[in-house]
């Protein structure tokens, strides 16, 4: 099937789904190759998201081969937010105040969004399962203590089952020093490179110089953030940090394309560029595995 025929087939498929009663775009499966590849792209001019970009402004290379894009309106795609919180004691000095910040952040999400709250210290706990945000959502945190199962927590967050009709944003709040996980440091970027979620990390600086032996887990987290197209932030105030991350994520673009001209198997390095001049910072996931 030639690319023009494939494009028309896809277009008719989308139209058919839109007009067929009871069948919505949510039920269409878009996955690599048989379907479409999705890439979340953040475009900023300094710290400010750049609005109003169109499909024609972007160029996406899949293993160096230019691809034909179809963009989805970002406003129409709801967000699943996983808030991943380090409760090991070295990060959250005042659990009550932090809890209040988290509860306030949840109320700032949209009704179509969903939120999940996962905490980790010695154990990893899903305190609030993925659900629509509401003022009644309250994590049951009473104290902070224990070791730091950062890698295990990040792994759990990254593996959240992806759906084509929603975007997944993970916000990790931690000092990055893993002391208790079973998951290896190397695994975190390896898995991050395979998922569609975008990972942001809000890093709390440790009180003193970080020992060398903890830098590996911090580096692994930073690399995972980079591979998903997220950012690493320095903490100011939790609710402000989280809210800004979500706002920036909403202002980013979701590009989709049906891969052409590349072999299916193996790793696909992605390059995203803008076709307009300017000093832009573009962040997106670095690639995907074709299986």
């Amino acid at each position: 099937m030639r690319s023009s025929q494939l494009g028309r087939a896809l277009l008719w498929a989308i139209i058919a789904m839109a007009v067929t009663p009871g069948v919505s775009a949510r039920q269409t499966t878009f996955r690599a190759f048989a379907d479409l590849v999705s890439v979340d792209v953040s475009v900023k001019n300094g710290r400010v998201p750049v609005p109003g970009l169109k499909t024609s402004d972007f160029e996406v290379l899949d293993n160096g081969v230019p691809q034909q894009l179809e963009a989805v309106s970002i406003e129409a795609v709801p967000i699943d937010v996983t808030l991943l919180v380090d409760l090991s004691g070295s990060v959250v000095p005042n659990v009550s105040a932090f809890k209040a910040d988290v509860e306030k952040f949840v109320t700032l999400l949209r009704p179509t969004d969903r939120v999940r709250i996962v905490s980790f210290s010695t154990d990893v706990n899903e305190d609030v399962p993925m659900q629509a945000p509401s003022a009644a959502l309250r994590p049951n945190w009473t104290n902070v203590n224990g070791m730091t199962s950062l890698n295990d927590g990040v792994l759990f967050a990254l593996l959240w089952p992806e759906t084509t009709d929603r975007r997944h944003l993970i916000i990790a709040f931690t000092d990055g020093m893993d002391t208790y996980s079973t998951a290896r440091n190397e695994s975190i970027p390896a898995v991050a490179g395979r998922v569609e979620a975008v990972l942001h990390a809000v890093l709390v600086e440790p009180p003193g110089p970080m020992p060398d032996r903890y830098k590996d887990s911090v580096d692994a987290l930073r690399e995972a953030v980079r591979l998903t197209g997220g950012e690493t932030h320095r903490v100011s105030r939790a609710v402000d940090d989280f809210t800004q991350i979500v706002a920036d994520f909403r202002a980013s673009y979701m590009l989709r394309y049906a891969p052409k001209g590349v072999d299916r198997a193996g790793w696909h390095a992605l390059t995203v560029r803008l076709n307009r001049p300017g000093n832009f910072t573009i962040r997106s996931r670095q690639g995907y595995s074709g299986g």
């Binding site: 224990g146 079973t182 590996d216």
Partner: protein, 420 residues
Amino acid sequence: MLLRRATPLAGLLVALVVSPQQPSWSRSEITEILSRYAAGDYSGAIKIIESVDQLRLGKSVSDQLSPPDDAFIDWQHATKDWIRLGTAPTGRPRELIAATVALEVVRAHPELAPYRSLSFLTWACQIVRDHPKGSEAERLWYLTSIAVIQESSLVGLLPAKREDTSVRLTRSPDDRAEVLTGHVTHAIRAFPDEARFRLAEVLARAALTSVAAFSGARNWMDANELPMKHPPSNSDQARLLDERLALLPAIEQDLEALARNEQLRAEVELNLGHLSARQQRWDQALAHLDRVVPSTHDVFLMCLSHYLRGWVLQRMNRRDDAIAAYRLALERAPNARSFSTMLADQLAQAGRQREAYDVLSSGLKTSAAATDARTMTVPVGRGRAGPVLLNHPSDPWDQFQHGDARLIPTYLTQLREALR
């Protein structure tokens, strides 16, 4: 006015006179503990032991350099008097009963600073050695004491050692002698034919080669892999580690000798596999681990052999085989967080994300639910102390780090029966 100013001061003086400083725990309390234990009221005795809170029995975790405290001195006097009363009503020697209660004290208070626990253990070992019987009860006492030491942070107490920092921190000549000689040495001398004591001694030496403390990571295999990723920058520590790592060939040789013992073979091969994997000798590790399952019915050893095989295969980039091995491990120990996490990791890297999520999600829920409530207080970040879970007893990988600690309930039951 003078009277009004003097009144509070007078009140304070009166309070000091009528309320002298209380002992840390009373001798009558200690006697009751011992008598209850001797009579078979173990839960009653342990309840009293557990009620002796940290402020009474010892001071803060950091206070390990102070001289023997009142609590231990009271213990020495009270037990001496109790033992002098003669044979226990059950006809069993009181020395061994008191020595067993000392083990219960150490177990009941994991928050005790290591060198406070050491005083009780040294005392107990001395009293058993001073009254040797060669009995089954005595053998069980040694088995239990070794397991209690392996459970605690005092595993370095087991093998003989030269003068080093830990020895210099002991608080009495008796403690120092115990540390230098090595507790397991006493067990071997008393029961030279007991192969488990010899295994404990070798594994205690192997434990001293652990470099995990320098890695900051819990993933024991990564943390303990050699050569070290982050060698210590302190030259004294580096020298000490080099000396200990130089002992590995001899340790492996001693384990090979113990592998000829049919009852120990599976456990020995598991440990040889572990040591080989630590040194990245993958084929050798697999050869050892493959001998475990055919040699035992012990589910603990079997699931660990699968887990370690999974690790080795993962490191050899044989992902499908690693997944199969981790699955076998998880089937035998469904609550093991280590097993579910490693399996999920490999499934995720194989592109099987949904499957990975289901395994990890289920694994995290079940392992948290099965967590032991025993805690100890350790400094956690910014110098503050907080309760920390000692381990997840449902996770065999955690238990592997603590030798025979998993067998303490069995040993104690048998020991108590032998003391009745």
